[in-house]
Amino acid sequence: MLNIEQFVRIGKDGIGNERSKNAQSMTYFNGFLYLGVTHHNGEGPMDCARILRYRPKNEVWEEVYKSPLVEMDAKAKASHIYAVGRHSQNAEKTVYDKAPLYRGYRGMTAFKGKSDNTPALYVGTISHWGAQILRSEDGINFEPVSEPGLGNPEILSFRNLVEFDGKLFATHAGSVSGDVLDRNFSETTTVYVSDDPASGEWQEAMIPCFGDKNNSAIFGMSVFNNYLYAGTGNPERGFQIWKTAASGLPPFEWELVLKDGAYRYNLNEIAISMAVFKGKLYIGTGIPGLGYDKTHDVGPAAAELIRLNANNSWDLIVGSPRFTPDGLKVPFAAMGPGFDDFNNSVFWSMGVHKDSLYIGTNNVTPWKLAMQGAQHMEGGSQFWATDDGENWEPVTMDGFGNHFAIGIRTMVSSPEGFFVGTSNHQEVEKLWHKRARKNGKPGIGGLEIWLGNNLEKSDANK
């Protein structure tokens, strides 16, 4: 497995815009790493989300797409559902008359549909006026190929774009209704499917919410053992895992594989990350927010790691021992929730590179210390690795040396190495400076991209 010495930082400070906090989507396409950056809000032209690409051979970043601007309106300024009415207008804040149509890109994949001559790049946007799907054949020119929200303009974003059985499956996440925004959940949940996304024709691939209105979003999605798996977010009962062979016409038949947050109930509110490793499906859980879902009053709790077998049986790898209808579950890694760290609130991303499995966490330690005005800062996202799925070792415990890189959001394995993208929150550092009365200025902020490979660092820098 890779260790910290084998990673080099290839992008920093938001790669040209410090407000680009989140490396939310990445894929390797035609010899380039493609990166979709996300801004926390869309306050003005400076928050236009960009698609960047990087060619490892010449180590240059290039902006290939930037969100268009639209007229500022109430939706552009929508407040998160739990914060509505809490924030007073800041008189000194500049008010812009234009806002970005897309303030982020939450999903990205290469796919060859019926109308595509070659595999094209498809990107799911974040938009307060109904998320869209963008398409690019050459990786330079991007065009929207869907109507806003696939007909539902309240859809905030498309999170997963996953190919299965010759079709592209898309999941939506979050909602915008009037001036109220929910980053993760919505009243209805579905998976969309298309064998020709260039045409803009999509169909619903499941019955709404899998028949349970508390399934308020699909978080993780993966192909495993000839099935497509989807993990829900369910604030009442905890996540559910469903699978389908996607045979016949949509909506397809889905089978419930695991429910009730693997019997930890809503402390495993969401099943957000998935990866297939050595013949098993690994599933990372969590609670959105800072490990406490204010909207639904769930948590706080740390994340767990579940391992699903092809026959629907499951193992607890990292988490709390418990009695379940499926027998006594004791963590194979002999580690409690959050890799024994209560502040690892989400196992946010997961990836396989060569013969190792990696997990990136969202770690809320810096937030807590900043709130407390602690003199000493600790924490930051953690990055863990395993060669066998059960014995885990940390690659970094402090956001690659940056406490304010609180999350590892995405990772991509490529012939050029293993790309890892962070979510950096410099407002935490600002808060910390203020509360702890620190001298000096907070850092610039913005996402970082790291590239790991088994070459010596000096070789990688050549």
């Binding site: 009695f323 006594l328 409690g336």
Partner: protein, 293 residues
């Protein structure tokens, strides 16, 4: 798995079928179920006996019946009197000394205790925690609606509860406060030392969950051992004791010391015939975390 202290302590809010579960577990050949000893009411036996007198309502019956049983092999009035005398002679003993003494008599069996007084009063709880830092703890939970209804319907046990319970007491608090206390306690322990179990799950599928408890406790898991636990009525304290100490376990269990065939289904949204108030936000949150609908 974590058995260092040879005791399994069942932590359960009142009306959670703790006596029944205690009796079931006690039928495992490697465990012995105690009646409610209420030994954490004070720092020493003299204090415990004083508390028994003060609270009355038969709260001391379990300890007397236990000593009668292990000293004389019977629970007669004479044996109860002898047990009482013995207790006064050992008034300076701590709860730990007394339970070590009992354990010595029953060795190598693991003792199982489910005294409800431990969890309704923070002082008692802290005493238990200090006494048995390395015990296995089973956090037994029941549906808050069932607990609330049982609270309003069971007048006799309420008298003792009122004397011991920290603060105000109603159908919600009798469930919420002990469970909140136990949950906080569980968080402070190493993973796996305290395991939570929904009593409804256990009673609906006892073989499955009894096996898991045995695995967790690192006890024998053969079919005979698991089957034995299906007969709580074989516990030596499963019926009323003699006139001088008739109680010692929950009345519901003494009346019907078997696994119920059917358990009512409740939801958090159900209205109560006893109270017009819905559950508070905090009780609903805890109930959902435990897996209740």
């Amino acid at each position: 798995m974590w058995v260092i202290d040879p005791v399994l302590i069942i932590l359960a809010a009142p009306y959670s079928h703790a006596s029944l579960v205690c009796a079931m577990l006690g039928q495992h050949p490697e465990m012995y179920a105690l009646p409610d000893t209420h030994l954490f009411l004070a720092d020493d036996i003299e204090g415990v006996l004083s508390a028994h007198v003060k609270i009355d309502n038969g709260i001391g019956d379990g300890l007397l019946r236990l000593l009668a049983q292990i000293h004389d092999g019977v629970q007669s009035d004479d044996a109860i009197q002898a047990a009482k005398k013995w207790l006064y002679e050992h008034g300076d003993w701590t709860a730990r000394q007394l339970l070590d003494y009992v354990h010595e008599k029953l060795r190598p069996k693991i003792l199982v205790d489910s005294s409800w007084s431990t969890v309704v009063n923070a002082e008692n709880f802290e005493r238990m925690r200090r006494t048995y830092p390395d015990a296995n703890y089973l956090h037994l939970v029941s549906h808050p609606r069932h607990a609330a209804d049982a609270f309003y319907e069971n007048r006799s046990s309420k008298k003792s509860l009122l004397k011991l319970f920290d603060g105000d007491l109603d159908g919600e608090l009798v469930w919420y406060k002990p469970n909140d206390l136990i949950s906080e306690f569980a968080l402070s322990l190493p993973e796996g030392q305290c395991m939570r179990l929904m009593v409804e799950d256990l009673l609906a599928n006892p073989e499955n969950y009894l096996l898991q408890i045995a695995q967790w406790m690192d006890l024998s898991t053969n079919g005979e051992s698991i089957s034995a636990m299906l007969y709580p009525d074989k516990m030596p304290f499963a019926t009323y004791g003699p006139d001088s100490a008739p109680g010692g376990l929950e009345t519901e269990f003494l009346e019907e010391p078997t696994i119920p065939v059917e358990i009512g289904v409740a939801t958090l949204a159900d209205s109560s015939p006893h109270s017009t108030c819905d559950f508070s936000k905090q009780a609903l949150k805890l109930g959902k975390e435990y897996g209740y609908r």
